[in-house]
Amino acid sequence: MSTVETDPMDGFNATIHAPNRLRICALLDTAAEAEFAMIQEQLGVSASVLSKHVTVLMEAGYVEQRKAVRETRQRVWLSLTKEGRAAYHAHHEALKAIVGL
């Protein structure tokens, strides 16, 4: 019987690695679900920049959104999909492998 060893570097993900996208994934991994405006505030980026990165992550199937109305205004809540969470964790492990942790 043989065991298959996987290389942590296989988890390196260029889509997630872009700095703001890595931070978005780290935030959503920690918060489970977060409102668009809160993410924008935490990252210190404009709504258009955040929207661009969220779109990339959504197209990759890593992030999903939920819309909710609060005080007559529509709010967008974002969360990692199951695939997104797995991809982020794999990417995180790849980064740790590069550093040698």
């Binding site: 570097m9 390196f12 260029a14 889509t15 690695h17 872009a18 700095p19 703001n20 890595l22 931070r23 994934c25 780290a26 935030l27 991994d29 920690t30 918060a31 489970a32 679900e33 977060a34 409102e35 405006a37 809160m38 993410i39 505030e41 935490q42 990252l43 990165h53 990339v56 609060r70 809540w77 969360s79 995180h92 980064l95 740790k96 590069i98 550093v99 040698g100």
Partner: protein
């Protein structure tokens, strides 16, 4: 400027910087998730912990204590229903204020699980102790422990939030 083009694998220094950025955002979000619940809801939880053992004691009392078991059961159900409704309001308000989902794992499980089980044992167990001893002091002691636990957890969250903010 960032692009969507695939990037080369980072150097160890770049990877270390990326990990540090991820760690920083995790710390920041954890601070937000540790935002204490509003004081009015702490008062509600504390009141619930005060009422709960006394109402359970009334329901379990043999013979009946102060009021009929049916009335005690009504008090118990009314207080729990009110608490659940206020919990829903406070939860929605908290999420709207913080912009993050509620998390039940902000404090370590090694603290929360034994604390929760211990508190449940005290609140419910005091009713049985009262039933078999007939001494209502046990209900009041359980109420005091519940109220103290509620206030203490609010203080812990307030300090945790200030510390990590």
């Amino acid at each position: 400027m960032e692009t969507n083009a695939p990037s080369a694998r980072p150097t160890p220094e770049q990877a270390r910087a990326a990990l540090a950025e991820a760690a920083q955002i995790r710390t920041s979000v954890t601070a937000v998730a540790a935002t204490p619940w509003p004081v009015w809801f702490t008062v509600v939880i504390t009141a619930m912990f005060v009422i709960l053992p006394i109402a359970i004691g009334g329901v379990l009392a043999e013979p009946e204590w102060l009021m009929s078991k049916g009335v005690w059961l009504g008090v118990l159900l009314a207080s729990e229903t009110t608490f659940c409704a206020l919990l829903a309001v406070a939860s929605k308000s908290w999420q709207a204020k913080t912009g993050v989902a509620l998390r039940w794992n902000v404090l370590p499980k090694a603290v929360t699980i034994p604390g929760f089980l211990g508190l449940a044992a005290v609140l419910i167990g005091s009713g049985y102790v009262f039933r078999y001893t007939g001494q209502p002091i046990w209900l009041f002691v359980a109420s005091g422990i519940g109220a103290a636990a509620s206030i203490a957890s609010h203080i812990v969250f307030t300090r945790l939030h200030r510390k990590s903010a």
